[in-house]
């Protein structure tokens, strides 16, 4: 587990940011969304299965260098989010090894707001402290986060009063303002209104500097093509292709038999 405060290195372009070696992830998960003791007792002796084993990633190896904007594409269940979670240290791998050379900030599917009864401000502090930042670091960044999110006075309102767009704006602001060495964004650019979408896209472009690595998961192929200088394509937990965005996306499209239609490009 890493703290953002521990690393404020200057990284040179081309130096290694993340190295994933022969990564495998297998986990057991419950079949029911909310498993209960009651359902377990009711099904005693009926031979009903309660868990299933998921092989999310299998033999994935990849290096990400500083200065790279890596896009990850693939269909639902391809292992994109699993890969992001393993690189961020949220789920430990079952096989292989991951080396991370720098501070990581993650903006995965859900973002901030872990206690909805608390205010946006409290949630930003709690999220930051949980990620290993110090109170002083959050103090220093808080105004910028609040300004970027454009929430105004709502930052001091309980988060249960937030709309989904407000949630997403705050989450993106936290991840993007902190200026980590490695920023991991999972499907998070697709929320918020057109204005905020454009703003977050611009911010992503600003963060594309030589001493930073960005990893971006999205179904929006046009955005990936626009932002990234390298793309990997995952399918059923395996690395299918890696390389130039245009070529990999073309191969993926061909594989998926998806033509460049408005529906797949509409959302960023």
């Amino acid at each position: 587990m890493i703290s953002l405060s521990d690393f404020n290195h200057q990284h040179t372009q081309g130096s290694l940011a993340v190295s994933v070696q022969n990564l495998g992830l297998t986990y057991t998960t419950s079949i029911d969304k909310k498993p209960t003791l009651k359902s377990r007792i009711k099904s005693l002796g009926r031979g009903k299965k309660h868990t299933r084993i998921v092989q999310a990633l299998n033999g994935v190896s990849l290096d990400v260098h500083y200065g790279t904007v890596l896009g990850i594409i693939g269909s639902n269940g391809a292992g994109k989010s699993s890969l992001m979670r393993v690189i961020s240290g949220i789920v430990p791998p079952t096989q292989g090894r991951i080396e991370v050379h720098g501070s990581v900030s993650t903006l995965l599917a859900l973002g901030v707001g872990f206690n909805q009864a608390m205010t946006g401000r409290e949630n930003v502090y709690l999220g930051g402290l949980a990620a290993g930042m110090s109170r002083a670091e959050i103090d220093a960044n808080f105004q910028a986060i609040a300004d970027f999110s454009e929430l105004g006075e709502a930052i001091d309102a309980p988060m249960r009063t937030y709309s989904s767009g407000m949630f997403a704006r705050l989450a993106f602001s936290v991840a993007a303002v902190v200026e980590p060495d490695i920023l991991i964004v999972d499907e998070a650019l697709s929320t918020g209104d057109a204005h905020f979408k454009a703003k977050s896209l611009n911010r992503m472009k600003e963060l594309r500097t030589a001493d930073r690595a960005l990893i971006l998961v999205s179904h929006a192929l046009a955005t990936i093509e626009d932002l990234c200088n390298e793309v990997i394509w995952l399918d059923k937990g395996k690395l299918m292709a890696r390389g130039n965005p245009t070529e990999v996306i073309a191969a993926y499209r061909e594989f998926m038999n998806v033509r460049k239609s408005a529906s797949s490009d509409e959302d960023v």
């Binding site: 587990m1 290694l16 979670r85 690189i87 430990p92 859900l110 402290l129």
Partner: protein
């Protein structure tokens, strides 16, 4: 850079690397205090007395028992009143840890799915909240002790080791139940009945010395029976706790803590995929 900054590898024996885990937990102690503060603020948010409720609540509770024993019961049994309030307050430390702990992981879903941190931080935070709620009640219990004119002695310093055992017990219970609730989500709905039963089975509404030996032999399985008895001896009677009471509660506290923590740590990697 020749040295990798951080390495993620499969867990050995199902447990995370403990030294790094504890270091990471210590590094995030500010989270625990911030969480406790926000949680208490939020629970009393918008009420007229705000944080004053932390003191008002135990005062009102003891007022109810005062009414019950002195006014309705018509007796002036200082020992009984002192025992009831003191043990009830300690019981609430355990009960609040359980209630706070049970949903610590399931309600921390967003944080768990998005951030890498030692998950045990969440049930520990719930116990810290329970301790913050307990401290004012301790002051109220002392005040009641003085007003009632109950005995004093140096033996009352035993309160600190007994309190320490209680906190270890509360931590163990909170950590264990938070993990069980990930696998069986209905545990949180059963918990009020569990704590209510524990309340009646423990020497709170009665003193341990008043129950018959045949019933008392079953109390060996109640983890908090001798803990509350020791607390009552120390705080109310100003006596030293019995050696048996201390050993019984210490063994239970340590066992629950060790088993609960092991269970939690060995399952922790599953949380992000089970929530």
């Amino acid at each position: 850079m020749s040295q990798p900054v951080i390495v993620y590898e499969p867990f050995k024996a199902g447990l995370p690397p403990m030294r790094a885990y504890l270091r990471s937990l210590w590094h995030r102690r500010a989270f625990i205090s911030e969480f406790a503060r926000s949680e208490l603020r939020e629970q009393n948010f918008g009420s007229v007395f705000g944080q004053l409720w932390l003191v008002l609540n135990p005062l009102l509770l003891s007022a109810v028992y005062f009414l019950l024993i002195y006014v309705i019961g018509g007796t002036s049994d200082e020992i009984r009143f002192g025992h009831l309030t003191a043990t009830l307050f300690l019981f609430y430390l355990i009960a609040n840890s359980l209630t706070g702990g049970v949903k610590a992981i399931t309600s921390g879903q967003r944080l768990i799915l998005n951030t890498s941190f030692p998950r045990v931080m969440l049930p520990v935070s719930a116990v810290v909240v329970a301790i913050f709620k307990f401290l004012p009640t301790f002051v109220v219990a002392i005040a009641i002790h003085i007003i009632l004119g109950l005995p004093y002695s140096w033996q009352m310093l035993w309160a600190f080791p007994v309190l320490l055992i209680s906190i270890v017990m509360a931590l163990g219970m909170a950590i264990m139940i938070s993990c069980i609730n990930v696998y069986f989500r209905d545990i949180s709905s059963m918990l009020p009945y569990l704590t209510r039963s524990l309340l009646y089975l423990s020497p709170i509404l009665y003193e341990a010395s008043t129950i018959s030996a045949s019933i008392k032999q079953f109390q060996i399985v109640n983890p908090i029976f001798y803990l509350l008895d020791s607390w009552s001896r120390v705080i109310v009677h100003a006596e030293a706790p019995t050696m048996y009471g201390l050993i019984h509660s210490s063994i239970f506290a340590l066992s629950i803590f060790i088993v609960g923590t092991y269970f939690f740590l060995s399952r922790e990697r599953d949380f992000a995929v089970r929530l």
